[in-house]
């Protein structure tokens, strides 16, 4: 056949690798949406179940896409490509910078909405670079709550007080902590807004065929957090562990593990821990690292990770990312991260 090419080829065409993961979402007829935080950020492709990070894979060959005109035994090239788009499965994330924090202060919710102007829950879901499933999981993790169609995040103290009420109610009514009915619980929680209870259950219980089951390690962690937050000054690690043990509601016994609190505390001095929240940290990486080293001179990657991983938008290996702003020194078998 004769082969032609347009003199001016059309560069609006792109080739995307139909990887098995992507094909699967298509087989399931999932909705696919390209998303990005803003016009200068990475591109993600979100389906109902997966999030793909889109990268460009360049090659050195000439690839021409042609339309084949079988009748006239010719083909005409209309596009020429030096790259393919490569979708790689990553974990999605929700950008909550516009979502207000709701604490129980006596303020009417309608007034709160007027004051803070929260995004609609549907919009938040629509713009998040996360698949539907991932969104739901992370929304629960964040204590996200949908009230009258608005997206808000429940404040820490509110969550803890709801959680305490739920636990004491379960204990008081002798309900099975590993298989209880949410409806029955709801009925016995008189003063608690159902949305709040829903949020707290989404975070601290798993749904099983037999009913809801409390996630004890997670609950343990939250009480640890509460103790950490209650003293802002550094405390001795052993004193902290004792206070943590004492913090649980009566007749509710769970084990504790300081590793579960990584990302919520720093070690300003040896053997001392201090609550440290990532929420107020600067978004600029240089400033962020500066802050972190101000509070703690030397870090393990594991303990630093929760404070910096959100900045690694290019999905670099975290070790390499950290090295852009800090020194990562090998000391024996371990690595420590220090100021540069």
């Amino acid at each position: 056949m004769d082969i032609y090419s347009w003199l001016q080829r059309d560069d609006s065409f792109h080739l995307i690798q139909m990887t098995p993961d992507l094909v699967k979402t298509m087989e399931n007829n999932e909705r696919l949406i390209f998303k990005s935080r803003d016009r200068d950020s990475s591109i993600f492709l979100c389906s109902d179940s997966k999030t793909f990070h889109i990268r460009k894979k360049n090659h050195s060959n000439t690839v021409i896409v042609l339309k084949h005109d079988k009748e006239n035994a010719k083909a005409i090239g209309f596009a020429s490509m030096d790259s393919e788009l490569e979708p790689k499965v990553v974990s999605g994330s929700i950008d909550i910078s516009d979502v207000p924090l709701f604490e129980e202060t006596g303020e009417e919710f309608t007034d709160f909405v007027k004051r803070t102007n929260p995004p609609s829950f549907a919009d938040l879901r629509a713009v998040s670079t996360a698949s539907k499933t991932e969104f739901d999981v992370q929304w629960a993790e964040l204590n996200g709550c949908e009230i009258d169609g608005h997206a808000v995040i429940l404040g820490f103290n509110l969550v803890v007080s709801v959680l305490k009420t739920i636990i004491t109610t379960l204990v008081a009514y002798d309900m099975d902590q590993e298989a209880f009915s949410a409806t029955k619980l709801q009925e016995r929680l008189e003063d608690i807004r159902p949305e709040f209870a829903r949020t707290v259950l989404a975070q601290f219980a798993t749904k099983t065929p037999a009913g809801y089951s409390l996630d004890k390690p997670k609950i343990s962690r939250w009480f640890g957090l509460q103790v950490l937050r209650s003293t802002l000054a550094p405390v001795k690690e052993e004193d902290f562990l004792i206070n943590w043990k004492d913090a649980f509601p009566a007749f509710f016994d769970v084990s504790i593990d300081i590793q579960s609190l990584v990302g919520s505390f720093v070690r300003p001095f040896p053997n001392m821990v201090q609550f440290y929240n990532s929420a107020g940290l600067p978004q600029d990486p240089v400033q962020r690292f500066k802050e972190l080293f101000k509070i703690q001179a030397s870090w393990s990657l594991e303990e630093m990770k929760p404070y910096v991983e959100d900045l690694n938008s290019r999905n670099l290996k975290l070790e390499s990312f950290v090295m852009k702003y800090a020194r990562r020194k090998r000391i024996g078998k371990n690595y420590v991260i220090t100021r540069r």
């Binding site: 390209f34 016009r39 591109i43 894979k57 360049n58 090659h59």
Partner: protein
């Protein structure tokens, strides 16, 4: 290396300049504005 095949005597000849090797090793992040 250039394997030239002029079909006419002007600068608009049609020919393939062969590449000794092939590489598709480079993968890059792209921005929204690069694609849309």
């Amino acid at each position: 290396e250039i394997v030239e095949a002029p079909i006419k005597n002007n600068e608009n000849r049609i020919w393939v300049k062969y590449h000794e090797g092939f590489s598709d090793a480079v993968k890059k992040n792209i921005r929204w504005s690069d694609l849309f």
